[in-house]
Amino acid sequence: MKKIFISLFLASFLFAGKLEIVATLPDLADIAKSVGGEKVSVSSICKGYQDPHYLQAKPSYSRKMRNVDLLIFNGLELEIGWLAPLINSARNPKIKPGKFGSLDCSEGIPLLEVPHNELDRSGGDVHPLGNPHYLLDPQNALIVAQTIATRLSQIDAENSEIYQKNFDEFRRSLELKIVEWEKQSEQLKGLQIVAYHKNWEYLADWLGLEIVGYLENRPGIPPSPKHLKSFVEIVNEQEIRVFLAATFVDVNQAKKAAERTETNLLILPALVGGVQHVDSYFELFDFLIQKLMESAQ
């Protein structure tokens, strides 16, 4: 207990004068760190190896949000099951919806799979505002970084030049990496793949992959034996060689399905920190491109 109080005491000096930011996802936290630099202290609620759809609204998370200046979240209802009760119990007037301290990072993102007809829950855990996994296209991170830089400059106008400089640096680095990743993955264009869940649409769209089927035919609903049979048939008939699944899904089920086909099951991180040594947004894409290239060869 003594150690905790000493750590808190020291931390209060260390972070003095910094903007306190909490991000719902580690990817957003990493981007915010790049843009905020020395002027911000950033933490993330969801860990990279956790499924952000199904996080529990632990009161300790709301304690993290109690004193922050800015809450950054993915939006598009990805955090619908847990963020609202956390904001409510954090009792921080700054981060209430609509306040300046609440930032929905999906603003300005060109969205995929926005439904044009009426939805209901017979389709499973549907996202009525569009597919929320837009951070798996690094081009969208440029938009997110700009959104964060703008908001930081509004909250902390005194340091707006620093935020703009950090953003310019981040944009230059990421644009260079995007060119490099696109060059590395050129031969992936047109590659047909299957996936466990609709995590990978933005990645596929960016790299030119074609997702021909899902093990979960309805998001969040386990596949029926009938669907599993047709999934296996599609994979075998079309000679699909790559099967993507995020680290937090039911890996045993994915393995069983992969065994009935000749696909190469790739269990990949969908977020920063999803596996060891993937500790930044850049490292996430280095890892994803490398694994996709290996499996396609």
């Binding site: 109080f5 860990k47 304690r63 099951g81 009792r91």
Partner: protein
Amino acid sequence: MKHLFFIVVLCSAIFGQSATATGASKTMNPAISANGLFIGRYFEPALPAYNGFILQEMEFQFSSVVDPYFQADITMALHPPHSHDDEDEHETHGMTVDIEEGFLKTFFMPRGFGFRFGKFLLPFGKHNPLHTHMYPFTHAPSSVMNIFGEHAAADVGGELSYSLPLPWYSEVIFTATDGNYEHLFDAGSSDLAFGSRFSNLFDISESATVELGGSYLQGPHGEHGEIEEEHHEEMAQFFGADLTFKWRDVRKSYGKALIWQNEFLTDAEGEKDGFYSILQFKFARRFWISGGWSSVFDSGVNEYKTQLAFVPSEFSFVRLESVYTDDDQWKFFVQTNFTIGSHPAHKY
């Protein structure tokens, strides 16, 4: 009548604002959800009046921001009348309409503070603040019902809460209410009821938490003559202590989970003390198995429950339950639940 008046006032606050501000726009409509609980019962030895299928409860929730200063939440429930309901209740086709909750929450409290005003479930212990579809079993434990009755205790008044700036989650709650919940208090008295709760939740690992809580409630005696004469001048007092352990495989979307919840409740006279312990284990993606024990010390009657729950999604479940009590009574239940609409996410 009082309930009807209360809902009219709250509804006019919410819908009135929307209508004047936006005309026919749907964007300002409150989030609305409905929840249905149906139950089949078989008692052995047989109680013919009880055996069969009934609508256990139909719950409707409305939630919306009222204006820059308030948010309003309303929970209405239709259920079969309880044994204590009298003729003043407004019944429709054998069902009773209850305004379970209807309160305003403020947006303008200082950091760390929360305040709500209206009718709300009293924050006493872990079980009482739950809506019926969130109960771990089909019915509340006997030790809880012994004090609060068949339904959770709710009252009209104000609640001030504060989350303490400590390295773990710590919250203190104070309530001042009308003292109008008949099962606990004398509804005819002009005295107010006061309550408090202090809870602390510790993350003992990434996957596990322990919560320790203590609750207190006092109000005008309302035991309809059951309390001895010398106690009538005093306030009725209730005490509670609870311990909850939760574990979940946080690295999996649909991982295994375990909840162990314990609660001790008593009144100041020690005449209504009891204890329950509930263990729930999620052993597969869509299945939970649970066991529970509850004891009312005064009567010495123990209650043992077992349950298998099929939870295909967060919006529905089917549960099979058996209950055995010391007086050689077996009860079997099959319960179904559904939720439609925009239902607020549940607390941890």
